[in-house]
Amino acid sequence: MVLRSKTFIETYQEDLSLFRTIWVKFWWTVLLFTLILLPFFVGRYTLYTINLVGIYIIGAIGLNILTGYTGQISIGHAAFLAIGAYTTTILGERSGLHFYVLIPLSGVITTIIGIGVGIPCLRMRGLYLAMATMSFGIIIQYILFQWEGLTHGALGMAAPHIILWGFKVDSDRKFYFLITLIVFLLGFSAKNMMRMKIGRAFVAIRDRDIAAEVIGVDLTRYKVMAFGISSFYAGVSGSLFAYYTTHINPEYFTIFLSVEYLAMIIVGGLGSILGSILGAMFIGIVPEGLRIFFGFLNKTFNLSGFVFTQQLKVITYGVLIILFLIFESGGLVGLWRRIKTSFKSWPFTY
């Protein structure tokens, strides 16, 4: 990490801390206040987009832990999101558990299934793993469609409401605070986890698995753990998605959703928590921006042909994936780091 000049680290305590300098603390406080005040200044639709981005962030962190940090390609992330969402909905409907039980519980159940998938996937790597996870995703979607007794099939299910001490969490603003809180909790745990032994083991496995084993990383344990943690995040994200959108349908959890999440972590930056966040924001906001832009084109030039459709959205994701992989493989985080470094060391080049 590049530190500003005249920053001296003298104790281990300082070296370990997440917020190293007063300026980092200052900017985090500013961010925190902005986030608290934000919902009072933006419109309903903007808030809705922001909330969805928050849900994306959690899922993207999960995928980044598995794919970015541990290097296990997964094209089946949508399946884990679906399991989280359906666990919440089904259990919420049948048992009436509270959301503060149900959200972690969905995470835990998804984790168990994730570990169940992770164990047979241990022997695979690269392309084979990509295909295995993809087929897992397709199988799960099929089950959701066909097991009508449990999931109501293609009709979808209505998710339960969140009730906290007698008052209903139903407005976008209330959801905003809930989602932001969970994003902060899970984001910081992920950040810390990736600085700890676990995260270092993951990175070692990604970079060279045999070398990792030689230096004492238990491959079986850590690979399964990566699957488990990733699934937990996906489960929580899916659970929040179910609560927030109030209705879930197997049609949402397609392979395209998995690719969308992959797009997030590629655009944001593989192997970086900040990257997951930036990527989720980017992928969440770009279609909205394009929609507004196309609407503007329509209004000013009276063209009815420029309608921003679902198809264009998918094409945008594809183009973004390809462009970022070819020209900026570090993602937005790589870009950000480069800019930051060049500012810090100005007028020198490095």
Binding site: T67, G71, I73, I75, P120, C121, L122, R123, M124, R125, G126, L127, Y128, A130, M131, A132, M134, S135, F136, I138, I139, Y142, F145, Q146, D209, I210, E213, L219, T220, K223, F256, V259, L262, A263, I266, L270, Q310, Q311, L312, V314, I315, Y317, G318, V319, L320, I321, I322, L325, I326, S329
Partner: protein, 297 residues
Amino acid sequence: MVAELNYLLQLIVSGLAVGSVYAVIGTGFVVIYKATKILNFAHGEILMLAAYFCVLLIERFHFGFLPAFFLTLAFCALFGLGIERFIMRPMIGEPIFAVVMVTLGLSIILRPLTGMVFGFGNVMFPSPFPQSPIVISKIVVSHAHLWTFIISCVVMVIFFLFFKYSKLGIAMRAAADRQTVAFLMGINVKRIFSLSWAIAAATAGISGVLLANVLVMNLNLSFVAIKVFPAIILGGLDSVVGALIGGLIIGLFENLVGGYLDLYVSGIKEISAYIILFVILILRPYGLFGTKEIERV
């Protein structure tokens, strides 16, 4: 008893017909994998594009079936060359994840793009084969299925001979085996890469046109390629013979499952192939004929 036997034979025959197309599609994957060690996730979309292009030539420009077919192949080969030159070549040397993701990105671009150009609905393919089926002792085979089977077999034989005996085929195998050594031996590796993409795209063209005859033609045609993954995994990612046998087995299995189990579990036919894929990957990840790669855990 006889009726049951006939039913079984019927399922086997149509299974083999579908399986032979899977084999051709699988060859497309194998050719690219052999040369460049990447799996082309956009193969299904090239296949779908080929079918639409062929329809365009026949309906709009009034070509006969055969000229349209060969023009489609040429178009596909050019398309493959273009992808290799402008998208895949800048990615040489990048980690495999990045390269695979690029093909995945390409696939999600091509699908809606084709839909926007050619429409999202079902298209009637102007089939050159007679509609009346052939009946051989109560087993019904449509002309389309029969021709599909024959053309697929011919293509497979050509490929087998090409890789085994032709100078170019051997050069491709060499490049696949050790890029650096092949390069030092005077093989133009870049050209081999371009060529393998062109050949693979052309096989996608063949299978696309054949499939459009047999299946309902719409954008979902591209998903057939995903169904071929189990076939190539079963056969081994780097074996043409494996693609043939894997394709036939998966086609057969799928049809048998569809014929016997669909009554009890609806739609099981659609995912039976993926269940096989999962099982194979667990039991024998390198397939029946593939090169053994050991993953330690």
